[in-house]
């Protein structure tokens, strides 16, 4: 949290020499607090004060970014504990783990499959973010070979997992130039060497401890060595302990501006339930053991949902969408411009292979029933959208289909749209293909 004007004043020379262009140091401090002037305007601030002030203006949770050829995964920079207070910003990176004792074929197959994986959710292409390579072999050469294999199979960012500096060193050397990996990690016994490696290879470094005091000690010591891009690992697979650790770390950073815990959190959840918790409760990097589409898909969706800005529902552009090259005989289906609604319907129509005109009404980004309950999706509005388009001249017979949930609107819509045949479709989008085939 930023310092107040008074707190800043205490760090200034307090001589009121006016060289900064302000009558007093206090006046200058007030402007600084409001971020309206630069500290450099005062020639007399001490080095120590400069450092303290820079620190206070830094975000409470440091932004740590892992980069590799064409990819970047960012974590941190969060400002709230609850998403309704503002929003969560940087979606936690989802990393898939491989172990260097697996066969080269198995490593490559797993990474290639996960690397290629793409799933479409409301028009957004979701993918995993990178890979964690764990050294279970205890052999630097094996580890280095596994890292190279990973690099052949994917260009996404990597996390190197071992507490043994000689192994990590071998892994770092196997990376490509210019990439920033995450080392996992540092503990009480190895932190000094690990910090040196992180420094040398411009890598980020995770500190591992089940207790917050040790974590804070470690980040302070490592920062003292000049490494700033850190992450903290609660080193537990238990849900309760992880929740408590993550919540306290986040609170300390946000409410007390406690820098030693102001870093993204990295977790290695033991199962899907723990990964679910990690996503909603404050992890910045989530490393999962298995790559299973039936787990990765819901995890990516949850992440998307939790990190949606509560002030802005995801919307699509209102208007007429042509699906499967509709001709004049194709029906007009009506829906709202809430993106989840639009994509549920559009996907079904598309999948049916049957042509349709999809009339997306401006319902301020609300679902069918929400918009109906809020008065943003009524017969009048629907009629207006239809009339505002050139559909009347394009289709014959003129058939318009309402979502089943708003069947009550059909009478009114018939009045509003003379000459149109108003039909009521099924309630759920899944049943649209059957409806198009059988009822129309």
């Amino acid at each position: 949290m930023a310092l107040s004007g008074i707190q800043i004043y205490k760090l200034l020379p307090q001589t009121n020499c006016k060289e900064c262009g302000f009558p007093t140091c206090l006046a200058f401090a007030m402007k600084l607090a409001a971020k309206q002037v630069e500290l450099s305007a005062c020639p007399y601030v001490t080095e120590e004060s400069i450092a303290l002030l820079a620190e206070s203006s830094a975000p409470p949770i440091r932004l740590v970014s892992l980069k590799s050829d064409g990819y970047e995964t960012k974590a941190g920079n969060e400002v709230v504990l609850f998403r309704h207070e503002k929003t969560f910003y940087n979606k936690p990176g989802l990393f898939v783990k491989v172990v260097d004792t697996e066969s080269p074929e198995a490593i490559k197959a797993k990474i290639s499959a996960a690397d290629r994986y793409v799933v479409n959710y409301v028009g957004i292409e979701l993918t995993v973010d990178g890979f964690a390579i764990e050294a279970a072999s205890g052999d630097p050469e094996k580890f280095s070979a596994a890292v190279k294999l990973a690099r052949e199979a994917s260009k996404r960012p990597l996390i190197l997992v071992s507490r043994d500096p000689s192994i990590i060193s071998a892994g770092l050397k196997a990376l490509e130039a210019g990439e920033s990996a995450l080392i996992h990690g540092a503990d009480k016994s190895n932190w000094e060497v690990m910090a040196a490696l992180a420094q040398e290879h411009k890598a980020a470094l995770a500190v591992i401890s089940t207790d917050l005091e040790t974590s804070a000690d470690l980040t302070e010591k490592i920062r003292g060595k000049g490494v700033e891009d850190l992450a903290i690992d609660p080193d537990t697979t238990g849900l309760g302990a992880m929740l408590t650790f993550n919540t306290i770390a986040r609170r300390m950073a946000l409410k007390k501006n406690f820098k030693p815990l102001g870093f993204p959190i990295i977790v290695f959840p033991k199962d899907l339930v723990a990964a679910t918790q990690a996503i909603s409760k404050y992890a910045g990097f989530v490393v999962i053991d298995d790559f299973k589409p039936d787990e990765v898909y819901p995890l990516l969706v949850l992440r998307q949902n939790i990190y949606t800005d509560p002030q802005k529902p995801i919307q699509v552009q209102p208007g007429v969408y042509e699906i499967n090259n509709p001709n004049s005989e194709a029906p007009v289906l009506v829906t709202t411009n809430f993106s989840i609604t639009y994509f549920s319907v559009a996907n079904e129509v598309e999948g049916s292979g049957l042509p349709a005109w999809l009339m997306v009404c401006d319902a301020e980004g609300m679902s069918v029933l929400t918009a109906w309950a809020a008065g943003k999706f009524d017969a009048e509005r629907i009629a207006k959208s239809v009339k505002g388009s050139d559909l009347a001249s394009k289709v014959s017979p003129k058939r318009v289909v309402l979502p089943g949930h708003v069947a009550v609107l059909s009478g009114e819509l018939e009045e509003e749209l003379p000459g149109w045949d108003v039909r009521v479709g099924p309630r759920e989008a899944v049943d649209i293909p059957k409806f198009l085939k059988e009822a129309l």
Partner: protein, 326 residues
């Protein structure tokens, strides 16, 4: 480095609500469920008390449902035509409570009569000793008709009756008052609407320790974030001392998750969706876990495997972590 942990000091707490009455209390339940009572945000053991663990109820129907995912139908195939056997099966797989939803029509396709509804509820009560939550079909007039008959025929069992909404709460609240039951009050994802409904109910004279609120939720991928945040806001308001939000929360992740395409459809979906059964169970489990951590006290599920995973999570989360610095 010594750390002074910032603890939230909350002036308020959640009310405690009891579901089910044992023989000694005038009912026939062999177990009861107590929910609520917490004085801190979910599972923050280091700053408050959580006297009762959240519980999981399994949803059953009075007859074979027409619109359930084939996966669920297969799971319950042996009992799906017999609500009593279904209740027993739900108890056997570890549910803490049963949630019975009455249908609009009976198995013969006739409109559900109060007599059939009562007979079904009695059969379920006979078959399982767990506390019972009974929901009407969701059309106010039918709900009123059926639930009043059920409430009268089960006086003293301390059922939870639902769903009370702003348009039909009066009848259900009155019958719950007269027959010693609890109600669930549902409002559409809005802190103020939830409060308002609780005020209306309490104005009728039903003590608030006989009210559970259902803030409504959406499934993962279908609006869960709205429900999640409304629950966090309701719980924060309760702890801050707002009496009309200090009620335990019931949510229906089973109902929501199992109506999504991800759970209902196995063929012709993208390969990236993965294995159908696993995906469907994961969808329900993950919806439930997210809501559990947003403050849910009662989670109503449909699949035994999700139940198992959520119960295990609750057990883990209810154990105060032994963290040195905490």
């Amino acid at each position: 480095m010594p750390i002074e942990i910032p603890k939230d000091k909350w002036p308020g707490s959640v009310r405690q609500v009891v579901l089910g009455a044992t023989a000694a209390e005038g009912g026939t339940r062999t177990s009861k469920v107590v929910v609520g009572g917490e004085t801190c945000m979910p599972f923050m053991h280091f700053e408050g008390a959580i006297p009762n663990r959240p519980v999981v109820a399994l949803e059953i129907r009075d007859r074979r449902p027409d619109d359930w995912s084939p996966l669920l139908v297969k799971t319950w195939e042996n009992v799906i035509d017999d609500p009593a056997a279904w209740a027993k099966a739900a108890e056997e797989v570890g549910a803490d409570a049963i949630q019975l939803t009455l249908s609009l029509t009976d198995s013969a396709g006739q409109p559900m009569s109060p007599e059939t509804a009562v007979a079904t509820v009695k059969a379920v009560l006979q078959a399982s000793g767990l506390p019972l939550i009974v929901f009407g079909p969701g059309q106010s007039e039918v709900d009123n008709l059926l639930l009043v008959a059920v409430a009268e025929a089960t006086k003293g069992e301390r059922l939870a009756l639902g769903i009370c909404e702003d348009k039909n709460y009066r009848t259900i609240v009155a019958t719950a008052m007269a027959n010693d039951h609890v109600i669930t009050a549902r409002s559409p994802m809005d802190v103020n609407l939830a409060k308002q409904l609780n005020i209306l109910i309490s104005d009728m004279g039903l003590p608030l320790d006989r009210v559970i609120m259902d803030p409504t939720t959406g499934a993962l991928g279908y609006g869960i974030e709205y429900g999640y945040s409304v629950m966090e806001r309701l719980r924060l308001a309760a702890l801050q001392g707002d009496a009309m939000t200090q009620l335990p929360m019931l949510v229906t992740p089973g109902y929501e998750a199992w109506k999504t395409k991800e759970s209902k459809v196995g063929e012709g979906v993208p390969e990236s969706w993965g294995d159908w059964l696993q995906r469907a169970i994961n969808w329900e489990t993950m919806t439930a876990i997210a809501l559990l951590e947003a403050g849910a006290n009662i989670l109503v599920l449909r699949h035994p495997e999700s139940l198992k995973q959520v119960e295990a999570a609750i057990q883990d989360l209810m154990t105060a972590p032994d963290m040195v610095s905490v």
